[in-house]
């Protein structure tokens, strides 16, 4: 079984500042890792995913994440945020040979001008 912990429920940040949203996972098998973003009153949009290969993954809207197997982490980063990045961000894990996503509880990113 897998589980995901998103360590921060809310992250306030000023516009143009860097941000890191933290995600740790637990699994007894190898996993795929995902970050999704949810804007108000919308569904989930895929930001990026780690399937294999390079541990640094680049996604849409200038976001990137680094897979750290020893620390079982997959933190999301952006060097300079915009007001439009205000949204809920979900980390999710999927075990190899399953199609099931297990989500964290989400991190609310609030960008202030």
């Amino acid at each position: 079984a897998q589980s995901v912990t998103q360590l921060d429920s809310q992250v306030p940040v000023f516009e143009e500042a860097p941000v890191e949203l933290r995600c740790n996972y637990s699994s007894s098998v190898s996993v795929y890792l995902f970050w999704y973003v949810q804007y108000p009153n919308q569904g989930l949009q895929l930001l990026l995913k780690y399937l294999s290969g390079s541990t640094l993954v680049k996604g849409i809207n200038g976001f990137e994440a680094e897979f750290n197997k020893s620390q079982t982490s997959f933190h999301l980063r952006k060097p300079s945020v915009h007001i439009s990045d205000t949204a809920e961000y979900f980390c999710a894990v999927m075990g190899y040979n399953t199609d099931k996503l297990i989500f964290g509880t989400g991190t609310r990113l609030q960008v202030f001008p």
């Binding site: 995901v4 919308q42 569904g43 989930l44 895929l46 399937l51 999927m94 199609d99 989500f103 509880t105």
Partner: protein, 115 residues
């Protein structure tokens, strides 16, 4: 490429009434999922279909929830009778397994309010 379609987008009902949600996945995606997202929480899988067969419905409250995907394409999720705690966003997703793994794509969701 068209995304996952869901309707209605919003629904308000009174407790003990019934309600149905519809989902049309991305063309060619064999796997379809229904999730329940309660306010302040991450999505929780309710049921997973592979073509028109159920793969996993272990988290579906079967005394009141039902779902079908009769022709292996679109799907309907029904709640009968609804309870206050069913107020949530119901998300539909679809996926396709490739050599690179599986990625789920989500629809806009249906926000259900039970009064």
């Amino acid at each position: 490429e068209a995304g996952v379609a869901q309707s209605p987008r919003y629904k308000i009902i009174e407790k003990r009434q019934s309600v149905a949600f519809w989902c049309n996945p991305i063309s060619g995606h064999a796997t379809l999922y229904w999730y329940q997202q309660i306010l302040g929480q991450g999505p929780k899988l309710l049921i997973q279909f592979q073509n028109n067969g159920v793969v996993d419905d272990s988290q579906l409250p079967k005394d009141r929830f039902s779902a079908e995907r009769l022709k292996g394409v679109d799907s309907t999720l029904k709640i009968q009778p609804a309870k206050l705690e069913d107020s949530a966003v119901y998300l539909c997703a679809s996926s396709l397994r490739t050599s690179g793994g599986v990625t789920q794509y989500f629809g806009p969701g249906t926000r259900l309010t039970v009064l």
